[in-house]
């Protein structure tokens, strides 16, 4: 475990340079790329997500951990095999039309990346057509939409409708303060994440991993 444990701890503690150094050393030592990713980086982000969900740690710690994780992933990327690239499910993420709130969405995007998804972030105030067109073009498994306002969450229903109209197989995952499982069912979305942690759990469920 040795060096992988160092990577794991570096991510937990949000030490960006230590995480990068650990991944570098793991690669030099000839460790399996997949193992570094899963046992070092992803396992650590799982625990970070759990602690965040439990209210034991807060946004700054999560963001530093995510940064450490990203630094590690960046070093691994050139070593990913062709099959590895294909295996990673793609998620299109953005904040609902008319909504400019960025922080919650960013957090979820980082956690999803930490969980091994390939994340394409469309930013804030994203039109339903942009979600659906990008998902089609990139063959995304999931469209993830965030909203902080009760006034903007209604555009999520438009994304679901448009996606169905285009007969797209992508699943729709929604989250944000004013939302509920009830609303998710009402608009026919596929999943609802009550917080960043449960968004990751739901995303995994939706792609069956």
């Amino acid at each position: 475990m040795g060096i992988l444990e160092d990577v794991y701890n570096a991510v937990i503690n949000g030490k960006v340079e230590d995480a990068a150094a650990g991944v570098e050393k793991s690669l030099n030592d000839g460790l399996d790329v997949d193992e570094i990713l899963k046992k070092g980086l992803m396992a650590a982000m799982d625990l970070v997500g759990e602690r965040f969900g439990e209210g034991e740690i807060f946004i700054p710690q999560v963001l530093w951990s995510a940064k450490a994780m990203q630094a590690g992933v960046a070093l691994l990327k050139p070593h990913f095999s062709e099959s590895h690239h294909k295996k990673r499910a793609r998620i299109i993420i953005g904040t609902a039309k008319g909504d400019i709130h960025d922080i919650g969405k960013q957090l979820v995007a980082m956690m999803l990346e930490g969980a091994g998804f390939e994340v394409i972030d469309l930013g804030v105030d994203v039109a339903p057509a942009a979600f659906v067109e990008t998902a089609a073009e990139k063959d995304a498994a999931i469209i993830a939409i965030s909203a902080l306002l009760t006034t903007t969450m209604t555009s999520m229903a438009d994304v679901v409708a448009l996606k169905n109209e285009k007969a797209l197989s992508s699943k729709v995952l929604i989250g944000g303060a004013p939302l509920s499982l009830e609303y998710c069912r009402e608009i026919g979305a596929d999943g609802y994440g009550v917080d960043a942690r449960s968004a990751v759990v739901k995303a995994r469920e939706l792609v069956g991993s």
Binding site: G55, F58, K97, T152, P178
Partner: protein, 295 residues
């Protein structure tokens, strides 16, 4: 004016108004852009809400300038209207304000994250808060309220920005969530740390608003009371928003909220108002409940 406000504080619990944003939604004015635009586009609607809160018995009404930070306005391409929208927002409260009552100029978060996670520096943040505060003060507010701050660093930048802008009575209110280990901001700062730092930076009064319902706010009040000698303001939400068939409403009733407000008063709040989901009815009910207890 500062003296008048503190005099009043000695005599009674000062009552702030309830929500603006959720009242606008109820009125069918769920603008997808910033609600601050309504100050120019539908001033009568805003004035009407302000008047209803004063009539319900509020001593202080807060201007519809929550989204008036230049950085936040810029996200909607409205930065050119910063001065107009903030000035107009203050004017609409002033027009509705009876003698002996107060006008508070509202300052909300700027919507940007600080470096290293975001792009913005502390200095830039502070300057933007200063710009908004200068307009609010010049437009004639009796006090400035910085509210719904979920990051202490940003709240401190706002307090310093307002202090640079001019001599004005200043209240700074944070948003706390309840975890199993107690009350914290989204960034992990606890109540005592927030209260102490905000006072040191120059806030005259400290508050807590949004996210928590009236019941959870009782415990929060006890902790905040124990953390500061400054006057404190508590503005809970009317519970959580629930959506059914596309219609959003809040869980708590006015009566429930009012009963808790009496406990919040007993726990040491000097000022009480309402945040998301509260209406003039809530303010009326809470005043009746508090008066029952003090008579």
């Amino acid at each position: 004016m500062q003296k008048d406000f503190f005099e009043k504080l000695k005599q009674k619990t000062i009552i702030f108004d309830g929500a603006m944003g959720t009242m606008l939604m109820e009125a069918g004015q769920a603008s997808t852009k910033s609600p601050i635009l309504l100050n120019a586009e539908q001033p009568d609607l805003i004035t009407d809400i302000h008047k209803r809160y004063y009539e319900a018995g509020a001593d202080v009404v807060i201007s519809n300038t929550f989204g008036g930070n230049p950085l936040k306005l810029a996200a909607d391409g409205l930065e050119q209207q910063m001065e107009l929208l903030n000035r107009q927002g203050v004017m609409l409260v002033r027009q509705s304000c009876p003698d002996g009552k107060f006008v508070a100029g509202d300052i909300g978060p700027c919507g940007k994250m600080l470096k290293p996670f975001g792009e913005i520096s502390l200095e830039e943040m502070q300057q933007n808060f200063r710009s908004q505060a200068m307009v609010l003060i010049d437009a004639g507010v009796d006090l400035v309220i910085i509210e719904t701050m979920y990051a202490l660093e940003e709240a401190l930048a706002a307090v310093r920005g307002v202090r640079q802008a001019g001599d004005i009575l200043l209240l700074a209110s944070m948003t706390f969530t309840r975890t199993k280990n107690g009350f914290f901001t989204m960034m992990g700062e606890d109540i005592a740390r927030c209260a102490t730092s905000l006072a040191e930076a120059g806030a005259d009064m400290i508050g807590a608003n949004c996210t928590l319902n009236s019941k959870d706010s009782i415990g929060l009040t006890e902790e905040l009371r124990a953390s500061t000698r400054k006057p404190i303001l508590i503005q809970p939400n009317a519970g959580k928003p629930v959506t059914r068939k596309g219609v959003t409403y809040y869980e708590q009733t006015a009566a429930e909220f009012a009963r808790d407000a009496a406990k919040i008063q007993a726990a040491g709040a000097d000022m009480i108002g309402g945040c998301c989901g509260t209406t003039p009815e809530f303010i009326r009910a809470l005043i009746a409940e508090i008066n029952d207890l003090t008579v």
